[in-house]
Symmetry: C2
Subunit: 340 residues, 2 copies
């Protein structure tokens, strides 16, 4: 009898803990790479408001959805998106299999290895490179290639695998939200199939919770009669700008309660999130730390780059619509897990 | 100290129970609407093989995906898909808003209410009806309309809401799989947005785990400046036949370990599932119970109908590739929850 009472008591305590979510003290532990300030405070207040039973802004667990842009929001995007690096580095193997491409542009330039010439490639050139390196093979063959590449490829500045260059404070936010019943999604302009290869291992986000730019596949049969899917050069979802809320509707079917981005490509996702009822959190990572990472984007007079454009207009909209800007320099105690 | 030991013991027991999944005796309880026989046995053996720690066919929890066709597999599809009923019943309201359609076919025939004339409508006619009743409105307006309709619409034979006409044995399989760590998905030829309105309430399946035929949406702003999504007449995914494995790849990104269907439209999904390594379960519901439900499909000499075609070729493939055919007549003790 005594044991039963004790177990019942334990059950009550456990259920109570789940219902209440993490306390403010626990949040401080989970967000230990964040400096105290408005950004950290906005995250904690949002979680408290949406997960505390009886709160007027309480959100039932099933509806707790949080979406994260990847490049520049969860990991380094400068000087080039990792996926573009993958495509460029795949070109020699593709040309080996299709020698007729050897003397054709833009493949010729990529094969030359001349960085300055490569930097001048147009969007149209880049598209041609993406098509031959991301489509035409089976889904399984593609996944295996990406996996192999990730194990050896290294970022030119840190000389480390790209998957080590995720932002520790954002990893903490992912965990903190999940511990409070949120389903975390990546909503990326990058390739859905590419990100799905490592999302679980790197972010704890399963492939089915990755929404990205997606092409069609074609079902067919191999010589052994076994069915397989081939990646087709047919765009189904361009998961940038307005494509982000459209992709969220297609793949999730619910409006997020929290959304995180870092560029104009995330504007509509943040607007859409913030336009919902109750408590909604919209946050933008500002790359203003030239020393520990990079400083770029026209906001606050930082230099512009090809990637992750954080315009002054975006900054103004954030201030006007109650989005929170995260200053990497001021809000983050540590940027990477390998830092002391 | 004693309490700590007891709590540790409890933790061990809990973790052990989770790792082992449900026992055979518990499975019998959960599948109480199933008669003993090869179908019930195939389900239990599959779950035991994939969830028992140390089993050579053990599947890690994160990879446990099971997909279910809806119409004719989870609920009644005869004499007409519920969603088609919805579209036909929406026609008067659409014509009221767009009076110019009143004297135009196929709307004229639908407005006449003559069942025989309506039964003769071509696929092209039906498409026109689907376009005006499923697109052109905001996502929120559509969801509200479907919800309202489901509350009052009734099946002509049972005089009950369609949502009451789910198969109890299949509801049990959904729960049994979920209790064993499987993520259950609907993969339907029906409209993704339509099914998502009631999937959580009716099947315990959240909207983000519904894959269906999907159209595009368009992001825009209302007069109040608030963003919203409009349903567009642009097909992104025809989730039938080869579209099912293609849709599974797009929306889930993993091959299922178990798949359930009832017609030729599910053939590729079952093939794709069964072609994976390890233990894979592929099941087809055969509608052979004219008394308690319906008997149709050319398999075993049953009459053919417009819906859910279970051909002899499908039956032969099932036997050849080790799929299990579920006989509603022989395998199901009860069909609906409202039956005694």
């Amino acid at each position: 009898m005594k044991t039963t009472r004790r177990l019942n008591l334990l059950a009550v305590v456990l259920v109570g803990a789940l219902a209440l979510g993490t306390t403010v003290a626990q949040a401080a532990d989970l967000l230990s790479s964040w400096n105290d300030g408005p950004a950290k405070q906005a995250i904690i207040e949002f979680v408290q408001a949406t997960t505390t039973q009886g709160s007027p802004k309480f959100v039932p667990p099933a509806e707790r959805i949080a979406t994260f842009d990847q490049d520049g929001t969860l990991w380094v995007e400068h000087p080039m998106y990792s996926q573009v690096m993958y495509c460029l580095e795949r070109v020699p193997a593709v040309v080996k299999a299709k020698p007729e491409l050897k003397d054709v542009e833009p493949f010729k330039t990529v094969l030359s290895g001349k960085r300055q010439a490569m930097a001048k490639l147009s969007m149209k050139d880049l598209e041609k490179i993406l098509v031959v390196t991301l489509t035409g093979m089976s889904v399984d063959a593609f996944n295996a290639e990406v996996k192999k590449w990730l194990e050896t490829a290294k970022d030119p500045r840190w000389k480390m695998p790209y998957t080590e260059l995720t932002y520790l404070p954002m990893q903490e936010v992912l965990k903190y939200l999940r511990e409070n019943g949120y389903k975390t999604y990546i909503v990326t302009g990058g390739g859905q199939d590419f990100v799905r290869v490592y999302s679980e291992h790197v972010y704890g986000i399963p492939p089915e919770q990755v929404v990205g730019t997606a092409g069609g596949t074609k079902y067919g049969y191999g010589k052994d009669g076994k069915p397989f899917l081939t990646k087709e050069p047919k765009l189904l979802l361009n998961d940038n700008n307005a494509g982000k809320p459209e992709g969220i509707h297609l793949m999730i079917g619910r409006r997020p309660y929290a959304a995180f981005g870092n560029s104009t490509g995330d504007r509509q996702m943040l607007e859409y999130t913030k336009a919902g009822d109750g408590a909604r959190l919209a946050m933008l990572v500002l790359h203003d730390d030239a020393k520990r990472e990079y400083a770029y984007g026209p906001a606050q007079g930082l230099p512009d780059t090809k990637v992750g454009t954080f315009t002054q207009a975006l900054y103004d909209q954030a201030k006007k619509q109650g989005w929170t800007v995260i200053s990497m320099k001021n809000d983050w105690k540590r940027i990477f897990s390998f830092e002391p």
